[in-house]
Symmetry: C2
Subunit: 422 residues, 2 copies
């Protein structure tokens, strides 16, 4: 690569800053909760066309995805929920590249918990606020403007680059999987999830489960005649936290070394009982368990079920009234590539050329769309983007604009390095 590329691209990004912020604001202002991505995808398609890309818009076919329904959610289908892919055709012999982001977001949640409008796209102190700001309309804008910045600097990738705006990541990634199944496979893929500018070649998996713990109803005035499902659940929950601690101690994956909780088991919802004066006869909890790359979903499911069964066997009531573990839709297999993979080393080079510093190379504990590219698509994939995943589903979600510009410049340099220039 010629040494002027990073400077030229950085200069383009500086020039494009108002357009970048404006594009992100426009996107954040269009609600696009999972299931309702249509209007935001229209905006993405328009933006891609304005950027000169060849645009493919299609609604995924439920029949094609149905065989994968354990790992994604088909639900009521994909009407008015198209995927959008913008292609920039290469004029040479470089390595092709997919730049992926998902358009769907979680709900805004309780608006009173926000200091900003959840769909306002307001900026303050160099940050842009709103649902989806970092997860991941910021990443979508970064991918699009990385390509734009390159071309603004008069540079053209030598190989095909596909900018993808896919749907339904939050409930399993039907959109990314549908893109793979449509034939969008390249020599590498970058997902601009909010990694806080770390290079992430390994991603945890996750499974969502339901746990039904039986009790025995009785009037509260004779509560000892009943069995509280709440108390029995507390016992199972303590056991699951012990199981989590043992799993953490056993994991040797190098990128997870030193991580506080490599495989969190979270109880997210609990519902029990119907009346304050009755002993609750059923507790239903739903939760999420994390996996690290190298673990297999089927094996883990059996291990967690065995753990619950062993806990039940040690309890007088649960032995004869065993809790039921079932698995919810949206299973995320863990996925990863070697830290020595060319995708990682080229992205490392791009980062160093852009920032004159060494990148952080990390694993993350969350599941996202990487598995569809790596496992189903058979291509190397890495995640890299601005923003902190800790804010992703929280009130006051934000993206630091300086980091967003750094991500865009780095991604542009990466495209040049990976694809080559025509």
């Amino acid at each position: 690569m010629e040494s002027h590329v990073p400077q030229a691209v950085a200069e383009s990004v500086r020039t494009l800053q108002p357009d970048i912020v404006d594009a992100l604001q426009q996107l954040v202002r269009i609600p696009s909760q999972t299931g309702f991505e249509g209007q935001a995808q229209d905006a993405m398609a328009s933006l891609m066309r304005r950027h000169g890309l060849e645009v493919d818009v299609w609604e995924p076919d439920p029949a094609v995805l149905e065989p994968h329904s354990e790992s994604i959610t088909v639900g009521s289908g994909f009407a008015n929920r198209p995927n959008v892919v913008g292609a920039c055709r290469g004029r040479g012999n470089g390595r092709s590249l997919i730049l992926n982001g998902h358009i769907d977001t979680v709900a805004v949640g309780d608006p009173t918990a926000w200091n900003f409008s959840g769909l306002g796209g307001e900026t303050a102190d160099g940050r842009l606020y709103g649902r989806g700001a970092c997860d991941m309309k910021g990443g979508l804008v970064a991918n699009l403007f990385a390509l734009r910045a390159l071309r603004h600097a008069g540079l053209t990738p030598a190989a095909d680059v596909f900018v993808q705006s896919t749907i339904a990541e939050e409930d399993g990634g039907a959109g990314a999987l549908a893109a793979v199944l449509r034939g969008y496979v390249a020599d590498g893929a970058l997902i601009s999830e909010p990694t806080n500018l770390a290079i992430v070649p390994a991603q945890g998996g996750s499974l969502m489960f339901r746990l039904q713990v039986p009790g025995l109803s009785a009037h509260a005035c004779v509560r000892d005649d009943g069995v509280s499902a709440v108390e029995k659940f507390a016992y199972i929950h303590r056991g699951l936290l012990d199981f989590e601690a043992r799993r953490n101690a056993d994991i040797t994956h190098p990128l997870y070394a030193g991580m506080r909780n490599k495989v969190p088991i979270n109880i997210g919802t609990v519902n029990a009982g119907s009346w304050p004066s009755s002993v609750p006869e059923l507790l239903v909890a739903e939760g999420r368990a994390g996996l690290v790359p190298g673990e297999d979903l089927t094996t883990f499911k059996a291990e967690l079920a065995a753990e619950v069964a062993a806990l039940a066997a040690a309890d007088d009531w649960l032995r004869n009234h065993p809790p039921l573990v079932t698995w919810l839709d949206g299973q995320f297999a863990p996925a990863g590539i070697s830290v020595d993979s060319p995708l990682v080393t080229v992205l490392t080079t791009a980062w160093m050329m852009t920032t004159s510093s060494h990148p952080r190379i990390e694993a993350v504990t969350y599941g996202a769309d990487m598995r569809h590219f790596v496992i189903t698509g058979g291509m190397p994939c890495v995640m890299f983007g601005a923003g902190d995943v800790r804010l992703a589903h929280a009130p006051n979600e934000l993206i630091p604009l300086g980091d967003l510009f750094t991500a865009i410049t780095t991604t542009a340099v990466f495209i040049a390095e990976w694809c080559g220039l025509a």
Copy 2:
């Protein structure tokens, strides 16, 4: 009393058995969940008129009850929810008597949990099944037919006897309180709640509370960045069970001696979180705490709140994010009378004359309408009736018909003993 009375009354009850069963079946078949007592009260009024009673039917006035709204539920008022009282005027100088029962029931619940129709009034193996069979349409029928059996035997009470069918016991007893406030006060009151034929001169109180335990939301993949409201609740719940154990150890009331759990603290409902993959930021539990006679509601509320505050103070998170305890409607003050009260001794005599055995004299841990008679009405009150309270709110609620007939005979003899005969 003349010694032929128990035999004559028992003979009348034997003759009236088909009528008794038929009346109870008719009543069970009319749904009368709290709030919807109207149609069943029409049936009660008709039955009382057929039995020759002077009937008073009135809808309680919310304005009169409003000052008592801490201990009863006014809710949306009492339209189509009348109280019904049938008076049998005495022709002598005996002690007047109220025979009380409530017409309202809890919901049938999940019909698949029943082996019988929840509103069918079916009989099998000497038992009558259905919602309200023992709690307490059986008691209402017992009161009415006790008086009927006496008169069938040609005997007339010397003092006024009031047979009451009151509403809204299940959510606090607005009906019984309204009867007291209307001026229905007598020299003694008997409530035919299902005491399993024990004489019950002391009744526990109860308070329903809501406990809101705060957490801190985070994505499940970094769950240690959050604070699980479910885990913090488990800690508070263990503390409340310790508090319950200490209270049990401290209670010296003689009628509660040897009782397994004198003051149960029951967590009846738990609801936390909104998504399996988020750390739950709020848990809301509702429960019921029991009190024994001699305890004061206000004092106990302060003690329970102090217990929760002390637990919170010992926890790093809860210290700065304290759980909130609030009190729900339907507060039941405990109530009781001395075991040496004439009401108890006369009922003991009636039992012995009827059954040639000694009665069980017990306290119960549940709250009901006794407090309105004792505390607001200033009259002695005792509970006595057939059926097991353990089945009261459960599937397959039933009343043993043999016990019902025994209760009716005993009550008839008791009326004769208490009121005297004209």
